[in-house]
């Protein structure tokens, strides 16, 4: 059966992660991991505690207590002021309707804001302007000192679900099915005064926008719960391309309509998007799809990459892709090219943004075509990491230091390259020997 999840045996030569550290400290689901600098990261979740960790040693650096409810958003904020010493701050928002700024070097609470009318669901830092934004039922703009610079009027009760920075002092905010573009402008009165203006409202999505990501200065991408993916021009906010409703059957001609109907919205929801310069990687339902911006089509996909929904994906520099899922596993994929086959022209019916029925039919045709000529690229499973006993919410790739994963089982696991760790330990060992003076010959 093709729909079964691809598995890899116990022999995983390319999987570098042969050592792990279990970091305990949270008492509830850990939902967020955020990198502070080269070797530190913060974790937060439903227990309202923020923990700071050393990514190399797994040492717990600080426990930050201050929130009484679960954490809803977290963002790092390192000061870019040349005059000041570099301080690493993190901003956290919680369901207790407060936002707290923490100093990562001391573990102290710098400041706390509790004047929100609703839970802040997203936080974005605009380094360039040295301000940060909080998105809840309205959008607020703050400076470093936590002065409220300006805010919008009440937008919706549901609130802003995602924020992304755009060029020209603009931000895109996902509010339900709509995408709002705001522009920040300095007010005429004084240097510290800012105004925030809604400049455009985009209503192209059929369902709630679930993910919003900026690709580069010129484009950003949105994905919705029904599996629509729209590529936008970041400058004039026009739609460049879009994909929708093809995720589940376009590459899979045998799929029956019944099956499609019985599928829950989760199966088609775009859970997470990430991108590099060429491609957008979308976690849709249980699958992973690679959408090439140049060719404006899906170039590779893994329809059932996991046993259940993929929650987070990330592209590594070495053409690898890591995904984590509700099934508790983390998988490492490699995007490989199939050299022998010539590139296929983009099928015409592929970019259908209209109704379900037609899309279905056309997609089926397209899929048949695809079936005849296999895509140029494919995702190969090169390794999986099994450790968590519950959904892996998120992960953080630390390059050489390894990979941190957080899960609903309250744990964080640091996955490390065993070879590298071993040689590092040797290095430490000989340093310590030298320190102790044990290396001197005693005759």
């Amino acid at each position: 059966q093709k729909s079964s999840v691809q598995t890899i045996g116990e022999e995983q030569i390319q999987n570098p992660y042969t050592e792990l550290l279990v970091l305990k400290g949270h008492q509830d689901i850990v939902r967020f991991l955020v990198q502070i600098d080269d070797c530190r990261f913060a974790s937060a979740g439903d227990d309202g505690i923020i923990l700071l960790w050393n990514a190399q040693t797994g040492e717990k650096l600080f426990e930050l207590h201050g929130h009484t409810h679960k954490i809803t958003a977290i963002a790092p904020f390192s000061s870019s002021d040349v005059t000041e010493e570099k301080t690493d701050l993190i901003i956290t928002a919680s369901a207790d309707r407060t936002v707290i700024v923490w100093d990562c070097s001391t573990g102290r609470q710098v400041q706390k804001v509790s004047c929100f009318h609703s839970t802040v669901k997203c936080l974005t830092v605009l380094q360039r302007l040295n301000v940060w934004l909080s998105g809840g039922s309205d959008l607020c703009v703050w400076n470093r000192k936590l002065d409220l610079l300006c805010k919008t009027s009440h937008l919706t009760d549901a609130g802003i679900s995602a924020l992304v920075e755009l060029p020209k002092n603009c931000v895109a905010a996902a509010v339900g099915k709509e995408l709002l573009i705001f522009r920040l402008s300095a007010s005429n009165n004084g240097s510290e005064g800012w105004n925030v203006l809604e400049v455009k409202r985009l209503v192209d999505h059929q369902d709630n926008i679930s993910s919003l990501v900026s690709v580069n200065d010129l484009t950003f991408v949105t994905g919705s719960h029904v599996g629509e993916l729209i590529v936008w021009d970041a400058l004039d906010w026009t739609k460049q391309a879009s994909e929708c409703n093809f995720w589940d059957f376009s590459v899979h001609p045998d799929a029956q309509p019944e099956i499609k109907l019985s599928q829950s919205p989760n199966e088609t929801s775009v859970q997470h998007l990430t991108s590099d310069d060429e491609c957008v990687f979308a976690a849709v339902g249980k699958g992973i799809y690679v959408y090439n911006l140049q060719m404006k089509r899906v170039i590779a996909c893994q329809r059932t990459a996991h046993d259940s929904s993929v929650l987070h994906i990330e592209k590594l520099p070495n053409r690898q892709l890591i995904s984590c899922s509700e099934d508790g596993s983390v998988r490492i994929w490699e995007l490989r090219e199939k050299q022998q086959l010539p590139a296929e022209p983009v099928p015409t019916g592929f970019f259908n943004m209209w109704g379900f029925g037609r899309a279905n039919k056309q997609a089926n045709q397209a899929a048949k075509k695809m079936q005849e000529n296999t895509p140029m690229y494919f995702l190969e499973l090169v390794g999986d990491l099994i450790g968590h006993s519950s959904a892996v919410q998120m992960f953080l790739y630390f390059g050489e230091l390894g990979l941190a994963t957080c899960s609903a089982d309250h744990l964080i696991i640091l996955w490390k390259d065993g070879e590298r760790e071993s040689s590092l330990r040797s290095l430490t060992l000989f340093k310590k020997l030298a320190q102790n003076g044990d290396l001197q010959l005693k005759l």
């Binding site: 116990e10 050592e19 305990k24 744990l411 040797s426 003076g437 010959l441 005693k442």
Partner: protein
């Protein structure tokens, strides 16, 4: 009766240069492999000897002033033990060793009777007729009613094996010193109490007499004294003299120089001490307000004084105090405990004892690797070579901050032991003593100086300048100064003086009256002063503390650690440069194609005929800094016999030469072992027999396992390579048995407990695999059981699963050779404990390989900056394959052990360190019977 050679005065000397040549050829017994099919309990050395007792025992005797030498008690207290052995006769012998410590009386220069604070004497005595050899420990206890206030006692360790006595002399001496110290502490306390009572009696008598005299004076107005009155006056005078004498005695006993034992085995009665201390506080106020002696009587109101008759009863009429009365009951039982401990410790064949000691000492030294397969808690429990260290050890200890924190005098003074010469020490405290101490130093040694100082102290008891501490200084450091030969030693075998610090035992038998026969002064001879201080607080008791405040000079040794630190700092910088040089693989052979000579040699010794009998182990002179084995320690780990031989031969030579002096010694050393009549199986020097039993059982179960399961090898490989093995089964007892069997193969990850969980009923999690390397898991048919199995299959990549019910094993393939040697199902070994030792020896080999692998610098780091990582890797693989001779999966075992070593070494003691889980992505296979 006893001729001089019977008393084997014991000195331990090392003649390093000549020993190797003078060592007689090996006795034949040692080169013949042991008869492999010997029956149960067969002991190649167990021959019926001429002795009349079945096993070693401890005898306590007294030289009673009434009936002469008499045995008091034996340990074990069992008539069977001594058998037909004539205890009375032997008591006579051991007590009649001329023991001159009991000098009490009126010395020429002093007006009052004086107590001597005598050191114990330790001699070895052989009686070939009885087939008994004994270590004899003489001590004197004070008894006010005894002649000269002293009662001579001795404790003797009696064995049929003279070898055991000779080779275990230091250990015996140290252990018996503890027992003796315990007795004496109690005795001093009791003696002080006795004196106190006596003083009260005397005081009361004086009052009565005084009143009577007054009455008589009033009654008679004739102007001249009647004879009756004169008699009364004389009586009064003699009572007053007696009071003064007793007060003097009391001061003497109270001023007994003391220091605290750092880690003594016995514990002075703590609550009492606390109470006493409180008393001291109160009494000090009293002392300040009303100086004089009246306060002496204030705080023991319960005693009602008696009138003392002028003439005391004849000594033969009264019953002498028992040993228990002489000492406090508490201290007496403590002593008995200690003696029982000694008996247990030295039970068994000397060969076994020595092997055990050697391996313990070596293991203890291997602080880097010993945690892997050894029970470290067992090593820590009772450091066996504590005795050897002696004062030097204490000096070292004093350097490590623990002591420095405590600024109380006793410990700091001990650190003075690092001074090399007594001359340096004397000016510190005893300026007045300078002229005096010069002279004896020339003729005698520091020992008599010590005695001199004691005398000095006794005479000048009230002087504030001399305190117990200063005597301690001299006493402690004499070990460092080395013993110079005195004329009186001429009758004994002449030996060069032992190396400073190693041997604390010297023989010193002088004819001069005031010299005490002291064979050994160990630091364990501590004197606990609180006992008397409590009941007799006086200015003298406070002196030591007062001295502390003034004696800034005493703390001069303190800078030493600082200096050492400075040197360390320098060496830190240097050692970075020296990394290359220090590495045991030179640059010339970066590829390790040639085998190391040591390894080659070791290989040919591997087939294991023991060519050298075990010998007492003596730690190397060069101290190991930071507990890390230096190069000679490494050598010691690999080639213990070679390292030891020079010490060993030293002691062998010695015992031989001293025995040659014995005119009636019938047995030669080479056959000495055969005289051992100890037919009880050597149960061990182990502090806890439970551990031994556990080993036996585990070994037995493991033997059964490897015979029963054809797939034992991959299972053991899983354990050795750090892959958690889950034993799955329904029957708890069976699973636990299997887990116990396999637990002997589990390397320890550091910490004290083995990472073994015998029985789990809940589903396993990742965290469990970090913590446990061997898990017994319950299999149930309930829904919960499904979860358990689900978890197993989910984490199967981290696990090997041994199904005890269906007799299957799911684990990675093993093609190496180490485990085959470790667990040969056709092994001839039948006993569990033997198999356990076999396993230990192979695991130790693995440890040494892992150690080499871990600590070879070039195997892990590039030689030069530009060297690519690949060449380091290939060098590493070459080393493992060619140098260590490892094949296939054996490499993984050593790599895993090396990782554990690294983690253990670099781990900061403060932080527990996160346990990490290492694993491989390797396919598993299913094995079936």
């Amino acid at each position: 009766m006893i001729s001089a050679p019977d008393v084997v005065a014991f000195t331990r000397e090392e003649e390093l240069e000549d020993d190797l040549y003078r060592e007689p050829p090996l006795p034949e017994e040692y080169s013949v492999p042991l008869f492999p099919f010997a029956g149960h309990g067969a002991n190649p050395w167990a021959k019926v000897a001429g002795s009349k007792f079945t096993r070693d025992f401890i005898l306590i005797s007294e030289f009673s002033e009434q009936v002469g030498p008499q045995p008091l008690l034996t340990i074990p207290d069992d008539a069977k033990v001594s058998g037909t052995f004539d205890l009375n006769y032997f008591s006579l012998r051991i007590m009649s060793v001329d023991y001159q410590a009991s000098f009490v009386g009126h010395p020429p220069g002093s007006a009052y009777p004086k107590l001597n604070f005598v050191e114990d004497s330790k001699v070895v005595l052989g009686d070939s007729k009885e087939g008994a050899f004994a270590y004899v420990h003489h001590l004197t206890l004070y008894d006010l009613e005894a002649r000269g206030f002293v009662r001579p006692f001795c404790m003797a360790y009696i064995s049929a094996d003279e070898h055991k006595i000779m080779q275990q002399f230091q250990e015996l001496s140290a252990e018996f010193s503890k027992a003796s110290e315990c007795l004496k502490t109690g005795n001093r306390k009791a003696f002080a109490n006795e004196l106190e009572k006596k003083l009260k009696d005397l005081d009361y008598t004086r009052t009565v007499l005084h009143n009577e005299t007054e009455l008589q004076k009033k009654a008679n107005d004739k102007g001249y004294y009647t004879t009756q009155a004169i008699e009364k006056a004389n009586e009064l005078a003699s009572v007053e003299k007696s009071i003064i004498e007793h007060q003097d005695l009391l001061k003497q006993i109270r001023s007994y120089p003391y220091r605290k034992l750092k880690d003594s085995e016995f514990h002075p009665y703590e609550p009492e001490c606390a109470l006493d201390r409180a008393d001291v506080g109160g009494d000090q106020d009293l002392t300040a307000s009303e100086p004089g002696e009246t306060h002496l009587y204030t705080h023991v109101p319960s005693y009602t004084p008696k009138l003392i008759k002028a003439k005391s009863a004849k000594c033969f009429d009264k019953k002498l105090k028992t040993l228990e009365e002489l000492c406090d009951v508490y201290f007496f039982t403590q002593t008995l405990d200690q003696l029982h401990h000694i008996e247990r410790t030295f039970r068994g064949d000397v060969c076994y004892l020595l092997t055990e000691q050697i391996s313990r000492a070596l293991l203890k030294q291997q602080s880097v690797t010993n945690f892997l397969f050894e029970d470290v808690s067992f090593l820590d429990e009772k450091p066996p070579e504590k005795q050897y260290r002696g004062c030097q050890g204490l000096g070292q200890d004093a350097i490590d901050g623990k002591c420095l924190e405590e600024s109380l005098a006793p410990k700091v003074v001990i650190s003075l032991g690092s001074y090399k010469s007594s001359v340096e020490c004397v000016p510190i405290k005893m300026e007045q003593e300078m002229e005096d101490s010069e002279e004896p130093k020339m003729s005698e040694s520091a020992m008599s100086e010590h005695q001199e100082n004691l005398d000095y102290l006794d005479a000048d008891i009230k002087g504030s300048i001399s305190s117990g501490e200063s005597i301690e200084v001299l006493g402690t450091e004499k070990s460092g100064s080395g013993l110079t030969k005195s004329e009186s030693q001429a009758s004994l075998p002449v030996m060069p003086s032992p190396q400073a610090g190693r041997s604390k035992v010297g023989s010193r038998r002088t004819v001069s009256e005031d010299s005490i026969e002291v064979l050994s002064t160990c630091p364990s001879e501590s004197l606990i002063p609180e006992d008397f201080k409590a009941s007799y607080p006086s200015a003298i008791n406070e002196e030591p503390y007062a001295d502390d405040d003034e004696g800034g000079l005493r703390f001069t040794p303190r800078p030493t650690p600082g200096v050492a630190d400075g040197q360390d700092d320098v060496s830190k910088q240097e050692s970075l440069v020296q990394v290359d040089a220090a590495c045991c693989i030179g640059k010339e052979s970066p590829n390790f194609l040639e085998p190391l000579p040591e390894l080659g040699r070791r290989a040919c010794e591997e087939d294991g005929v023991v060519r050298i009998p075990p010998q007492p182990y003596r730690p190397a002179e060069q101290g190991l800094r930071g507990g890390f084995p230096s190069h000679d320690a490494i050598a010691g780990g690999l080639l213990p016999y070679e390292l030891d031989s020079r010490y060993l031969t030293g002691s062998r030579e010695l015992s031989k030469s001293s025995l040659d002096e014995c005119s009636d010694s019938t047995s030669h050393i080479s056959s000495a072992a055969s005289t051992c009549s100890d037919r009880t199986p050597s149960p061990a020097r182990l502090a806890c027999p439970a551990a031994e039993r556990h080993r036996k059982r585990a070994g037995q179960n493991a033997l059964r396992f490897i015979r029963q399961y054809p797939f034992a090898h991959p299972a053991i490989y899983s354990l050795l390579s750090g892959r958690t093995l889950v034993v799955l089964g329904e029957d708890e007892a069976m699973v636990k048995k299997l887990v116990t069997a396999l637990s002997i193969f589990v390397p320890n990850c550091g910490g004290y407990a083995k990472p073994v969980k015998h029985w789990v009923t809940s589903p396993l999690h990742l965290v469990d695999f970090q913590k446990w390397k061997l898990i017994g898991l319950q299999r149930t048919v309930s829904p919960a059981g499904v979860n358990v199995l689900h978890a197993l299959s989910r984490y199967s990549r981290y696990l090997s699963i041994l199904d005890a019910d269906s007799k299957t094993l799911r684990c990675p393939l093993y093609k190496g050779s180490v485990v085959a040697r470790l667990a040969d199902h056709r092994t001839q070994i039948k006993r569990g404990s033997t198999y356990y030792m076999h396993v230990q020896s192979i695991l130790t080999q693995l440890c040494s390989k892992a150690f080499l692998f871990t600590f070879c610098h070039h195997l892990h780091l590039p030689i030069s900056e530009r060297e690519p990582e690949e060449s380091v890797v290939s060098r590493r693989i070459n080393f493992l394959k060619l140098q260590l001779g490892l094949a296939n999966e054996d490499i993984k075992i050593v790599q895993y052990l090396a990782e554990l070593l690294k983690l253990h070494y670099i781990q900061e003691p403060a932080q527990g360190g996160n346990p990490l889980l290492r694993f491989d992505y390797v396919p598993s296979f299913l094995y079936k019977i």
